[in-house]
Subunit: 148 residues, 2 copies
DNA sequence: TGCATTTAGTTAGATATCGAACTATATAGG
DNA sequence: CCTATATAGTTCGATATCTAACTAAATGCA
């Protein structure tokens, strides 16, 4: 990376590579057939206290397009990890909820992820992580607003 | 994201979403058929002063697997943006170089990327970016070493 | 009421990415 | 020398992701 490259370019480049390294490491330990994208959906429901959400809401929460969410939900549904029903209040929409098997799978994934996460934390100082988080949250929030 | 989630998890989550937002914004302005992955390869050669590199070296530089680089190079080759020749010194290996059309394409991509990059910079303070870069470089370097 | 616009979801086609398994070549040790 | 191991590249099959284009339903407005 040349010194003449703009600062923002360097920052986004580092973010891209870190994302690649961490995604690959995390994906490698997930149970056969599970992916980060699918785990993220299951984990979202755990945080929600198992409320229902529409595919569009989920897509928006993760900043992915609706076609991508259609694809991921189809796989989760096929694996019996979520249930997808028509929304009685809106004929266009659907309601997704997590199944008991989905909750179990989410817990299993969390267990498996603990290892690589601990490895990462062991080499990264918590000062670095603590300094990073608010900066990243700020960047994310601003880019999010820019997108609209 | 619950308060009970580990700090590292939050950091990697933010990085993932920022990566998604920026990648999508940058990809959207590239010339028809070009992608971030392909541009990254062309840009790498510009920084190298057009030296030749093997597919394995390129894959390693971007932290992607060799099969992925095979795929990207095939597309660049098909589009006439790089040239791939056997390595005379090693029968297993190949040597990749950028063509004049490849250099031209790289310059065009840079022009197109300037817009979204400026947008991003306009909403992000340079203090934030300057604070982020060394932290991210540190994280990347440490994760890189962890991978080996 | 009725038509135009918006929104939800899907389908199709493309690229990027991975791991696993394969071929071919190079290198190291006995 | 010869075999075992390591490395380079590819092929295959899978998932994630995007855009473009489509259908169906809701909403807005005249």
């Amino acid at each position: 990376m040349s010194d003449r490259d703009p600062l923002a370019f360097k920052v986004f480049n580092e973010i891209g590579i870190i994302n690649q390294l961490t995604s690959a490491a995390f994906a490698a330990v997930l149970p056969k057939g599970m992916t980060i994208a699918q785990f993220t959906v299951l984990n979202h429901f755990a945080r929600l206290g198992h409320e229902q959400r529409s595919p569009a809401q989920l897509a928006s929460a993760f900043q992915i397009t609706r076609p991508t969410m259609t694809s991921t939900l189809a796989r989760l549904d096929k694996a019996g990890l979520v249930t997808i029903k028509p929304d009685p209040g809106d004929g266009r929409s659907k309601l997704v909820s997590v199944t008991a098997a989905g909750e179990k799978m989410r817990d299993l994934c969390l267990q498996r992820l603990a290892g690589p996460m601990a490895d990462a934390v062991s080499v990264l100082s918590s000062e670095t992580l603590e300094a990073l988080l608010p900066l990243l949250q700020d960047v994310r929030a601003k880019l999010d607003r820019l997108r609209d």
